[in-house]
Each structure stands twice: as structure tokens, then as C-alpha cells.
């Protein structure tokens, strides 16, 4: 039987079928649904760790203990977890460990465009790359087998178009291996697992030798396959690029790589010898192309296809046309020309804070304060855009507080706010906040606490007191953490009480000491709260534009007045508090 599955669901399914019993992750688009799907299988422990580094250490621990483990993260998450990836490459494991890393070419939901194949190379670990959901399922299981066979963590690379594409997956009749009847015995092997320099020096040659063995294995790995067609053009490719190239070059010959590191030298040489022209179709970093060049083989790739941005079928096609690799039928040409000419400039539609979102009230007040705002990553980052214009930096998760401290030490005299979300605080906000106290700067840190990891689709985190598997647990409260650190000035408030927020914020900014404000209002997607929307009294509206400054989608500028769309509005009534003319009328009072 076949079932449509997202790539992400298929990674989880493959891990489950292969007997992975521990899963750990931190959410991040496009990887989030992997751990969510995995958590639904019976007999597994799946968790949201506070960040990716913790998640990977957890997976490594489980694998040291002899239990197969799945860790999933997005490309920038692997930056956070990189330290753990490198040491686990040296120690190896006991049971299999698979790390599914989802890249985001074109940065649909990311701050940097990275190709995680570079990490496989740097950490000297094998990496597989599926081209659809069926392969996502299969490769996750294969990765766990290879992890045990070669005593190494194994990376599986996804990209947005694999993670978030659904394709048919064969549902297995074979159940996963049964749980062991006895608890695993921990094998204490200090020479293997304690990476002091002396031990690490003995492990490194083992790592290099292991990579050679995997490379030999890659030569006969059935998912590295040559599909011979017309010999005039040979294409080395993998993943989604394979799918696009398959449609655009229906007659060409293909070397489809299922293992994208290490690369099968003999197979590549053989393929190259059988075709007249050799090209590489790969997104982002020219990993295959550089390797093939290094082998001394003539190959084209970067001169045909860009190394920035996501591929699409028409991009691959246009590049192939420009390079003279294919020819277009006249009819298609004419049609393409006709439509490009006719398409006018349409207004853009960037993502927005939801109607009723607590971040909106907070950032409205923050902007009014005129302070310099060192921001972070989450839904609230959307407040950088007009009309709120209230965030001045966003780097990576947890960066804002450290930057704020640095800006202060750099001598800037602006009043300084660092702002981050509750999940970001748990992820990487704690250490920089300790630094603000320890090294003394008068930064006001605001935790915009909507009680959830909203940006990635409403995931739990330590501050919510609920686990990924829905169990109630210890709620790790940000206020207790900051009190415990030693902060003396801490306020907790509802950002929708904007008068109070403005007062408290002024007090903090002028207090000449490091301080913390926790602005707490649950996410509207979480609460699904909806109240009767207010109505604008056209007679009273002076069309001053004040309410437009909060950038709330249901507020619509009409000719000479503002109207509220009752379908889009969730009745939070924030605009009533903003309107200086008292023209917006509450409909919730009887």
C-alpha cells in the first residue's frame, strides 16, 4: 500500500521502521515536522531539546547507550550542533545515529543559505541525500545501518523541496524490531569515548581510514546508480536536482548519487568515460563539481547553473537553454514571451504578525521609546518591517543580547533594548544574559513570551511545561531563571496593556542597571481566541493614520476613513487603545 507523505514524515517513518527509539530535535523550518511525526509512533521517546546542540548530545548519548537514535534540525541548527558532530565523528557510537539536516536553498525561512554537504566533508562523516519521500524513508534506515557498520554518525541531507514535498511512500508490512527485553548495558570505553588530546590523536587516523572504507562501499552502494541514456550528455546529480534534470533532459545519461559524501571515485571515472559531455547539476555549493575537477576530469556546472538560490524546473531549463544543451520548441518560446511581457508589477505580500498577536503591541511601544533594538529570531522579527520598523538587528538565534552588550561596550549612547522570544531565550538567550550581569551593561532585555515556539508552527519548549509528546512536566520559568542569575529589576506584564508597558519600559530604560521585562501574552494561534471585532465609526474617524502604524491586516484604508475586515479581525481591541479620536467602537461590551 502507498500513502502520500511529506519528506519529513517519511524521515520519521524510516527511523521508526529501523528501530530508532530515541529522537531529539529543536524546531526549525524546513525540518520541524520530522520530530513531530516521529513522536506519534508507539514505543519511542521523542523530545524537543532546548537547542540543537543539546539535541545532538542527547542523540549521541542514546547511541552510546546502544539505542538507535534520530536527531533532526535545520541547516543553521547544525551550526549550533557542530561541536557535537565533530566529536561524535571521532568517538563513533555503539548503536546507529542518524542526523537529518534540512537545508533551505533560497532561504524561504532562514537567515543564511548553507549547503550542509560542507559539514559532511569537514567532519569526515558519510551523508546520504534522498530525492523523494520513498527515498527519505529508505535512506534514514540505511543511515542507521551504515552508522553501525562503520561506527560513525551518518548525516541525511534534506532540502525544503524534499522536506515539504509529499510523494507516495510504500507502507511496510514488517513491523520495526521489537524493543530489547533487557536494559542495554553501557559499555565503558574511555579510550574511545574520552576525547582528551592523547585519545583524540589515536581516533583521528581511525576516522580517516573509516572514510576510505565508506568511499569503497560507495562504489557499490545501490543508491549510487548510473542510468544510461544517450551518451552525448552525462549528468551527475542528486536530490531534487535529479528530479528537475530528469524532466528537462529526458534522454540524457545520469549518475544519480544517493550518497553525497564521500564520493565514489571509480564510479564517477567510469561514468565520465562513457559520456561525451559531463555536467553537474547541483544546488548551492559545487561539492561534486570540485571533486570531479580534482580528479582531473573535464566537467561543467557552475558556468551553467547558479550557486545562489534554489533550483526550479524552469531555472534548470533556462540555464540549459542558454548553455545550448537543449532547444525549445517555437510554440513554447512564443508563449513564454507573451506571458512575461504581460505580467505587471504587483504589490508584494511579506509575512505579517497575525491579527491579535501580542508582539504587535510590544513593538508598537518599543518603537515609540526610540531605543536601539537588538533583535533576534522568531515571529517578532517581522516587527522590523514597515510600519512597525522596530528592530534594528537580527543575526542568529540568541544573538541580540550579546550584540546589545557589545553595542553598549562599544560606547553608543542610545538607550539599548535586546528583545527575544521565549523559545529563543531557552535556546540561547541565557548565556548572553549572564554576560550582561557579569560584565555589566545597562541593557534592558525584553522576553516576548507568547508561551510557544510560534514561528515554526507552535512547538512546545521548556518554558511551556509541556513536552513534545504532550506530557505535563516541570515548567522552566524565565522569571525564575533571571532571578536566579541575579537580576534585581524584573517586571512581568501583558503587552496589550500598552499604557502600563510604556511606563514600565521608560522606567527600565532610565534605570541605569541591567534589567528584564517579560511581556507575556499567549500566541493567538495557540489560544485560537476570537472575539467580536470592533467597528470604526466613520463619522468619528479623522483618518489620521495612527492605527495604520501598527500594521494590522484587518485595518483597511478606505477613502477618508479606516474600515475593519470582520473576517480577518480577531477582536483583540488593540486598535481601540491606539485610536486618538476614539472612533473605533468596542462591540464586546453589552
Amino acid at each position: 500500500m502507498k500513502k502520500m507523505m511529506l519528506g519529513n514524515e517519511a524521515f520519521a517513518y524510516g527511523a521508526y521502521l529501523a528501530g530508532a527509539r530515541v529522537g531529539a530535535a529543536y524546531p526549525g523550518t524546513p525540518s520541524t515536522e520530522i520530530m513531530e511525526a516521529y513522536a506519534t509512533y508507539p514505543g519511542v521517546h521523542a523530545e524537543w531539546a532546548p537547542n540543537e546542540k543539546v539535541a545532538l548530545d542527547v542523540g549521541i548519548g542514546a547511541a552510546y547507550a546502544g539505542t538507535r537514535a534520530l536527531v533532526s534540525l535545520k541547516q543553521v541548527g547544525l551550526n549550533v550542533a557542530a561541536d557535537a558532530l565533530f566529536y561524535s565523528s571521532y568517538t563513533g557510537l555503539k548503536a546507529g545515529l542518524v542526523l537529518v539536516v534540512a537545508d533551505d536553498p533560497s532561504m524561504h525561512s532562514s537567515s543564511t543559505e548553507q549547503d550542509s554537504r560542507s559539514y559532511a566533508k569537514a567532519a569526515k562523516v558519510p551523508m546520504l541525500e534522498p530525492a523523494d519521500s520513498e527515498e527519505a524513508k529508505l535512506f534514514t534506515g540505511i543511515a542507521l545501518d551504515l552508522s553501525e557498520k562503520f561506527d560513525t554518525p551518518v548525516l541525511v541531507r534534506s532540502v525544503t523541496r524534499i522536506s515539504h514535498s509529499a510523494t507516495p511512500v510504500e507502507i511496510s508490512d514488517v513491523p520495526p524490531p521489537p524493543a530489547p527485553s533487557e536494559p542495554p548495558m553501557y559499555d565503558r570505553q574511555p579510550l574511545k569515548f574520552v576525547m582528551v588530546p592523547a585519545n583524540a590523536r589515536t581516533r583521528h587516523p581511525i576516522v580517516v581510514e573509516r572514510l576510505e572504507q565508506v568511499k569503497e562501499f560507495a562504489e557499490t552502494f545501490p543508491h549510487n546508480r548510473i542510468e544510461m541514456g544517450d551518451e552525448s550528455l552525462g549528468i551527475v546529480t542528486s536530490g531534487t536536482s535529479y528530479q528537475y534534470a530528469r524532466e528537462i533532459f529526458p534522454n540524457a545519461s545520469f549518475l544519480k548519487l544517493g550518497m553525497v559524501w564521500p564520493l565514489p571515485e571509480k564510479m564517477i571515472r567510469e561514468f565520465a568515460s562513457r559520456v561525451k559531455t559531463l555536467i553537474v547539476v547541483e544546488e548551492l555549493v559545487p561539492v561534486f563539481e570540485e571533486y570531479i575537477r580534482w580528479l582531473g576530469l573535464p566537467v561543467r556546472g557552475r558556468d551553467i547553473f547558479p550557486e545562489i538560490g534554489e533550483f526550479s524546473p524552469h531555472l534548470v531549463k533556462e540555464c540549459a537553454l542558454a548553455a545550448g544543451l537543449i532547444e525549445e520548441e517555437d510554440k513554447a518560446k512564443a508563449e513564454a514571451a507573451a506571458t512575461t511581457a504581460a505580467t505587471p508589477q504587483l504589490p508584494n505580500r511579506p509575512p505579517m504578525l497575525c491579527a491579535g498577536c501580542g508582539h504587535r503591541a510590544l513593538f508598537h511601544v518599543i518603537r515609540e521609546s526610540g531605543a536601539l533594538v537588538l533583535g533576534d529570531i522568531g515571529c517578532y522579527t517581522l516587527s522590523f518591517a514597515p510600519p512597525l520598523n522596530a528592530i534594528h538587528t537580527t543575526g542568529c538565534m540568541g544573538a541580540g543580547i550579546g550584540q546589545a552588550h557589545g553595542v553598549a561596550k562599544g560606547g553608543v549612547k542610545d538607550r539599548i533594548i535586546a528583545v527575544l522570544g521565549d523559545s529563543t531565550f531557552m535556546h540561547s538567550g541565557i548565556h548572553p544574559l549572564i554576560n550582561v550581569l557579569y560584565n555589566e551593561s545597562n541593557v534592558t532585555t525584553i522576553i516576548s513570551d507568547n508561551r510557544v515556539t510560534a514561528m515554526t508552527g507552535s512547538q512546545q519548549h521548556p518554558g511551556t511545561g509541556i513536552t513534545l509528546q504532550g506530557k505535563h512536566t516541570t515548567e522552566v520559568k524565565p522569571e525564575e531563571l533571571v532571578r536566579g542569575m541575579g537580576f534585581k529589576k524584573i517586571d512581568i506584564l501583558d503587552p496589550h496593556d500598552i499604557d502600563n508597558l510604556a511606563k514600565v519600559l521608560e522606567d527600565h530604560l532610565n534605570s541605569n542597571q541591567p534589567s528584564v521585562i517579560i511581556a507575556r501574552r499567549p500566541c493567538v494561534i495557540l489560544t485560537k481566541e476570537r472575539h467580536t471585532p470592533p467597528i470604526v465609526d466613520k463619522e468619528l474617524c479623522v483618518d489620521c493614520g495612527s492605527c495604520m502604524e501598527i500594521g494590522c491586516t484587518p485595518l483597511i484604508q478606505e477613502d477618508g476613513y479606516v474600515r475593519i475586515d470582520p473576517i480577518l479581525c480577531n477582536g483583540c481591541n488593540l486598535c481601540i487603545k491606539i485610536c486618538p479620536a476614539e472612533a473605533i467602537i468596542d462591540q464586546q461590551k453589552e
Partner: protein, 195 residues
């Protein structure tokens, strides 16, 4: 078996994913190879979303090709207007008669294209355009969020699969609490085409 390519375009949060899930499963049930690309993440906060669904004998790319789309389903007027280059000249275009202003329009910095301009963009190559009052219909049924299933009902009248077969996939994918609403939405969407 003819290849059929669909593009579902709308605003994040409008339910394009559910609609494309149903469409994908129906395709599989009808014996097609199916691929489908969705938008998750940041764009879901009110940004532009485009979901691709492809039915065929053998489908490689999950993304549709420019100039090859057979059915464009617009969940919002402006979002539909972005895709003329993707449609084939005999495409059928089903658009929700519903407008959500992007922020630049709300702020008076850009203007929302007039409906007749959108219509001419969407029919420039001779495509067939059909307006459906999907959001109004869904709102009157009790929840504007079911607009996508109304549109799917309209779309289904051009495709294989009996009403029962479509309903089975809806029942498989919609939570029980919202099932009745979505079934009604689907029926209303079909009826809108017959009216």
C-alpha cells in the same frame, strides 16, 4: 494517462495545504503518480503561498513548470494574479472572489489591482476564468477557513473521481470536529459550478 498540473496560490493561513493534501490523495486513489510541494514556515504568517500538485503517469519534479499548469486555484485574487506565466493557454483558472490587502496597500503605498485587470491578466492567453464566492460561502456555513474546500469542490467538477471518492479523502484528512462543515463546503463548491 494525461499529466495534470495544479497550482494552488493564496495567503498564508488560508488553508492551501489541506486543499492540496486532498487533491494529492485523490490523484493517488485515481491511479496517478503524484507529487506535491507545499509552503510551510515563515510565509504561513500571511505571506504568499503556492502549493504545487502534479498528477501523471510518472512525475519527477514536485514543482510545476512555467507555461504548463492546467488548473490554477486562487484562494485570493491578487495571489492568483501572480501566476499567468505558469499557466498553459487552455488552463482553467478558479479564483476566490476575495481580497486581502497586503500591508503596502493598507498603508496606501501601493494599489490593489482592479478586479477586471486581474481578470484580463488571467485570461491573456485564452484561459478560462471562473470566479467563486468561496470565502462568503464558507463564512455563511460557519467558518471562512473552509473556503479552500469550497474551491476544491468547484475544481472537482473538472476532474475524475465521484463525489463519494472526493468525500472519502476529505473525511480522511479533516478532523472529525470540522468534517461536516467541510463536506458542506465541498458540496457548495460543486453547486457553484452548476449554477
Amino acid at each position: 494517462m494525461k499529466n495534470i498540473d495544479f497550482l494552488l496560490a493564496g495567503v498564508g493561513g488560508q488553508g492551501t495545504i489541506l486543499a492540496s493534501n486532498i487533491l494529492g490523495q485523490v490523484g493517488l486513489k485515481l491511479g496517478y503518480d503524484v507529487k506535491k510541494a507545499e509552503v510551510h514556515g515563515m510565509a504561513m504568517r500571511g505571506g504568499m503561498v503556492d502549493n504545487h500538485v502534479r498528477w501523471g503517469e510518472k512525475v519527477y519534479s514536485p514543482l510545476v513548470f512555467k507555461g504548463k499548469v492546467d488548473y490554477l486555484v486562487g484562494f485570493e485574487m491578487l495571489e492568483a494574479a501572480r501566476w499567468p506565466a505558469y499557466m498553459s493557454s487552455n488552463a482553467i483558472v478558479i479564483v476566490n472572489n476575495y481580497r486581502i490587502n497586503p500591508p503596502s496597500v493598507n498603508m496606501g503605498k501601493a494599489s490593489y489591482p482592479p478586479k477586471d485587470e486581474i481578470a484580463s491578466l488571467l485570461t491573456a492567453k485564452g484561459e478560462r476564468l471562473i470566479w467563486v464566492d468561496a470565502t462568503d460561502i464558507a463564512y455563511n456555513l460557519g467558518n471562512a477557513a473552509a473556503a479552500g474546500v469550497v474551491l476544491l469542490g468547484s475544481l472537482s467538477t473538472f476532474l475524475d473521481g465521484s463525489e463519494e471518492e472526493w468525500m472519502e479523502e476529505i473525511a480522511d484528512l479533516v478532523p472529525p470536529k470540522f468534517l461536516e462543515l467541510n463536506k458542506q463546503a465541498f458540496v457548495e463548491g460543486r453547486r457553484a459550478m452548476n449554477a
